[in-house]
């Protein structure tokens, strides 16, 4: 991620230190993760100590300090999804991608994450890919959905 891009995001918030979390969220959504150089640049421009940024970036789960794949898969493990077989969906996705929750594959294609409720229990089991929910999942259907992603 280049410095110009980061500066543009910071300018959008008029370089105010109070917008730190918004700035980090924008970098996260554009880049999928927060590289060290980006944090150093934000720290320098906003005049916020790096320790504080590090504290915030590790506190919220929305931020990632490790590279993420092009597509983020979230599999719901909430109660409703769980009783409808979310763990079997998770197993088949793990087999297809070869990664466990919290990991990213070598091609940087997928990152896998489990979540505890996506708020649409009627659709369970739910798998979310890049923010788009896919409801009523079954192991085979989940694999079909993921085959559409490059």
């Amino acid at each position: 991620m280049d410095i110009d891009k980061i500066d543009r995001i910071i300018d959008k918030y008029h370089g105010e230190a109070s917008s730190l979390i918004q700035i980090l969220l924008d970098i996260q959504s554009e880049n999928h993760w927060l590289p060290g150089e980006a944090l150093a640049r934000v720290s320098e421009v906003l005049d916020v100590p790096l320790t504080r940024i590090q504290h915030i970036a590790t506190f919220y789960k929305a931020f990632s300090l490790v590279p993420k794949g092009r597509h983020e898969i979230h599999i719901c493990m909430g109660t409703a999804c769980h009783v409808r077989g979310a763990s079997r969906v998770l197993d088949s996705v793990q087999d297809l991608t070869g990664i466990k929750p919290g990991e990213t594959d070598l091609d940087m294609k997928f990152s896998l994450e489990t979540v505890n409720c996506l708020g649409c229990c009627a659709l369970g089991p739910v798998m979310e890919v890049d923010g788009k929910p896919h409801g009523k999942m079954a192991p085979a259907r989940a694999i079909d959905v993921l085959k559409n992603y490059e």
Binding site: P49, L50, T51, R52, Q54, H55, F59
Partner: protein, 199 residues
Amino acid sequence: MSEILLQIDGKEVKATEGMTVLEAAQKEGIPIPTLCHHQKLEPYGACRVCTVEVEAGGRTRLVASCLYPVEPNLVVKTRSQKIDKIRRVLIEEMMAHAPDSWQLQELAKEYGADRDRFEKEPSFCIHCGLCVRYCAEIKKKNALGFVDRGARREISFIPRIAAQECWNCKECFELCPTSALQAAYVLVQALSPARSSSE
């Protein structure tokens, strides 16, 4: 500065507005145990060992004396069965992390805390924040901070800053009630090659 009269352990105490209960007690020589408190630093209220009972408006409450401002006619109790029990359990919990800290051992003796009550989880950090706050407030270097949250929270040096600043300072080491801080620094030092080139 208006003067405020309050009662601590049955003793009339004069304090000025803006003082905390802890400061008022220390001025009178009434002991209240502390771990995360430091005179030069802003009150933090992390360890809760300084918990006292205050009575104001007919109700008793448990508060952290290092944060609680003095009020007129406040009645403070620094020791009671309830307070002693709270302090004992807090010490026992912290000793699961740092069993060999001498400050904790002293307190354990005083309050009858059992060092082995809880399963050991030797992180050696009790999250008092003394090092983090000292570096930020006094030295203004921000060489180390907290990372992560909840039970996984720990101190972490920023290698780039630590390599430049820490070697000649190390003032935070003696503040640490355990030896975790020093260990963390030694680790960073071992990992960062930058120091030898700047020395």
